[in-house]
């Protein structure tokens, strides 16, 4: 959908590479949400970086992103919830690579250009151990986290907009 097309009020984005094992956990959580949330929530599964992700969020009132997270400081399957404000604190740099911007930097660009970004943005990060082997199967602790993370997404969707969540 073009980024300025009419967007449903709430967007749930599963992020990651579905062919790379636990990296695809965001897609599986998003599909779980799709089955339970009904038509009021738009669900998308994407394998994109910060700039294109930011563009996808344009026009949405509320957005929740689910992604794999590799801090190395938590057990695999641990579920973290970040607000947009947390994201700005986490991402000190402008690039996740020589190839893309961080979501935080992309959101700053969007703000600078006065693009209609979501009023609330949550990011669900599920701790994984990075893998370089192609598979569509999640490891048991990550698979076990999927329904729990999906419930969390559904709860967040029911929450009213709060001041602290503003981008």
């Amino acid at each position: 959908m073009p980024m300025d097309a009419a967007c449903r009020p709430a967007l749930v984005v599963g992020l990651g590479n579905p062919l790379l094992g636990d990296d695809g956990v965001g897609w599986q959580v998003a599909e779980h949400v799709r089955r339970e949330a009904g038509p009021a929530v738009e669900v998308d599964c994407l394998a994109v970086g910060g700039l294109r992700l930011m563009e996808r969020l344009v026009g949405c009132h509320q957005a929740i992103i689910i992604d794999a997270l590799a801090t190395g400081r938590q057990p695999p399957g641990a579920i973290n919830v970040f607000s947009a404000a947390d994201l700005f604190g986490l991402a000190a740099g402008y690039s996740t690579s020589v190839h893309d911007m961080t979501l935080a930097a992309a959101l700053r660009l969007g703000q600078t250009l006065a693009l209609p970004l979501p009023e609330t943005l949550w990011i669900i990060g599920i701790e994984v151990v990075p893998t370089f082997d192609f598979t569509e199967t999640l490891t048991p602790p990550i698979a076990a986290a999927v329904p729990q993370a999906a419930r969390l997404v559904l709860e967040l969707l029911r929450q009213p907009v709060e001041e602290g969540q503003m981008i």
Binding site: A47, A70, S95
Partner: protein, 501 residues
């Protein structure tokens, strides 16, 4: 005593690339190693799947250029079934691909690698990004960049069915065409893209070409290598991103040949080194002589600069004018500026890749308009039903960051039995390694204090290639620390420098 410097741009997207710089006892650079862990098993993962799944499956290898993999896989699928798509399908695919190039090259120039040269090598990392460019050039430029990307993505969605991961290419063509209303909209956006590309070249001219310090940086030895160049060309030896033969040009400008995609095994071989999983492609006919420049070394490069060097010109008029100006500015012969595009015109200055990318941006925009105004483009004849038994096929396109080759083997049902991919950046693994070493050698001398600006310049050496080794796309945790550790002979860190890119 030997010292070791490690530059460690850890990112999920890039697959944990890491640069190690070893210093000799005098404190000069002895050697550098650019290590990339290979993503294992993709070929094996594909075996047993129907070949028609590959345009969708391979587009998920990488979140950066799914359209390139989609297109290479589509063409390999055509070849496996021995089917030629109807003209309208071919043109629609190329139209989608041209719009993709506009979006991708725009992003690299304004948001990723271009800021290195627009903002200056010594600008702090916090300014070497699109926000820095907005600050320098004005807010309007940010809106134009987002608009160029939006228009590119709109065309991808109209033809490819989805905005991010296209899904309409199948063996023999496409699952759908476009309406006249869509065509008009695509043409309107394409005409805007041409103006935007011209604006971008003017900006580059004003900020870089007319700035003697920046021009000297481009023309300096630090970022110069004398290698072979490859790139896809049409029947007139003009640059083409979607179809044609691969032209191979030597460092002295001699075209040593052109090969059809299916002949790549006769031209490209791969060299394994014990310190990295990823192999180094090289020209088989020349041979592997190590990480060295010159006509006797089979190291080659596949980038926007390579494509311009490997071709005789551009297929569209405005891009051709810029092509001539590019060589007139950067190629000198015995003190005289060499103007005509002939067999000796080759630019070896790696930072000129940023300029070459903008010339390709203009070509892609012009081609977008040409195809959008082609009388056949709205034809409903967009698929030829395959009638032959599937066997083996090669599909080749130019990805923004280099020649992309997909090679599939199937059984008689079209189920994959073997897969081989040579992705864009892999072509450039050897030249990237050489550029890092040369930049380090030129910038680190006995007594040199390692400064942030110095790290920027080493980073610039690989960023100009627009390298992409990744597959996993992540926004979290969202940091790219560039970390340099200087170690003593016992491996104990004596100094750690860190910056965020």
């Amino acid at each position: 005593m030997k010292q070791r410097i490690t530059i460690d741009p850890i990112t999920r997207l890039e697959g944990h690339g890491k640069i190690e710089i070893f210093l000799d006892e005098a404190g000069n650079v002895a050697n550098t190693y650019f290590q990339i862990p290979e993503l294992r098993g993709f070929e094996r993962f594909c075996v047993g799947r129907p070949v028609e799944e590959m345009p969708i499956l391979t587009s998920r290898i990488c979140g950066v250029c799914p359209e390139a993999h989609h297109m290479a896989a589509a063409k390999a699928g055509d070849a496996v079934y021995g089917v030629t798509p109807p003209p309208a399908a071919r043109k629609l695919r190329e139209l989608l691909y041209s719009a993709f190039f506009v979006a991708d090259h725009t992003t690299h120039f304004y948001a990723l690698g271009g800021p290195d040269i627009i903002m200056g090598a010594d600008a702090p990392p916090a300014e070497r990004n699109i926000l820095g460019i907005i600050h320098k050039v004005g807010l309007e430029i940010g809106g134009k960049v987002i608009q160029a990307r939006k228009y590119g993505h709109s065309v991808i969605e109209m033809i490819g069915g989805r905005q991010v991961h296209p899904c309409t290419s199948i063996p023999g063509g496409l699952t759908k065409g476009i309406t006249e209303e869509q065509r008009r909209e695509i043409e309107r956006m394409g005409r805007w893209a041409v103006e935007f590309a011209q604006f971008s070249l003017k900006l580059f001219d004003d900020l870089v070409v007319r700035n003697q310090a920046y021009l000297d940086l481009i023309l300096g030895d630090t970022y110069t290598h004398y290698t072979y160049y490859i790139g896809m060309v049409d029947e007139n030896n003009h640059v083409n991103f979607y179809d044609g033969q691969i032209s191979v040009v030597a460092p002295d400008g001699e075209r040593i040949g052109k090969y059809a995609p299916q002949d790549y095994p006769h031209w490209i071989a791969e060299r394994a080194e014990p310190w990295t999983y990823l192999k180094f492609p090289y020209l088989k006919k020349v041979g592997w002589k190590g990480f060295v420049d010159g006509k006797g070394s089979g190291v080659y490069c596949a980038t926007p600069l390579s494509r311009l060097n490997a071709a005789d010109g551009m297929a569209t008029p405005l891009a051709q004018e810029e092509y001539d100006r590019f060589y007139a500015t950067l190629v000198y012969e015995e003190g005289e500026r060499y103007i005509s595009a002939g067999p000796t015109k080759v630019v070896h200055h790696r930072l000129a890749t940023h300029w070459a990318r903008l010339i390709e941006l203009l070509y892609a925009a012009e081609r977008w308009v040409e195809l959008a105004t082609d009388p056949e483009i709205t034809s409903d004849q967009v698929h030829a039903v395959p009638t032959q038994k599937p066997t083996e096929g090669v599909g080749c396109v130019e990805a923004p960051r280099g020649t992309l080759t997909h090679h599939y083997w199937t059984d008689e049902r079209g189920v994959l039995t073997q897969v081989n991919l040579i992705v864009g950046t892999t072509n450039n693994y050897a030249p990237i390694s050489m550029s890092i070493k040369k930049a380090a050698q030129n910038l680190i001398h006995e007594g040199t204090v390692v400064t942030e600006g110095l790290l920027n310049r080493i980073e610039m050496a690989f960023r100009t290639y627009d390298p992409c080794f990744g597959c996993a796309t992540h926004s979290l945790p969202g940091q790219m620390p560039l970390e340099v550790t200087i170690r003593d002979a016992q491996g104990v860190p004596v100094e750690v420098l860190r910056q965020f890119c």
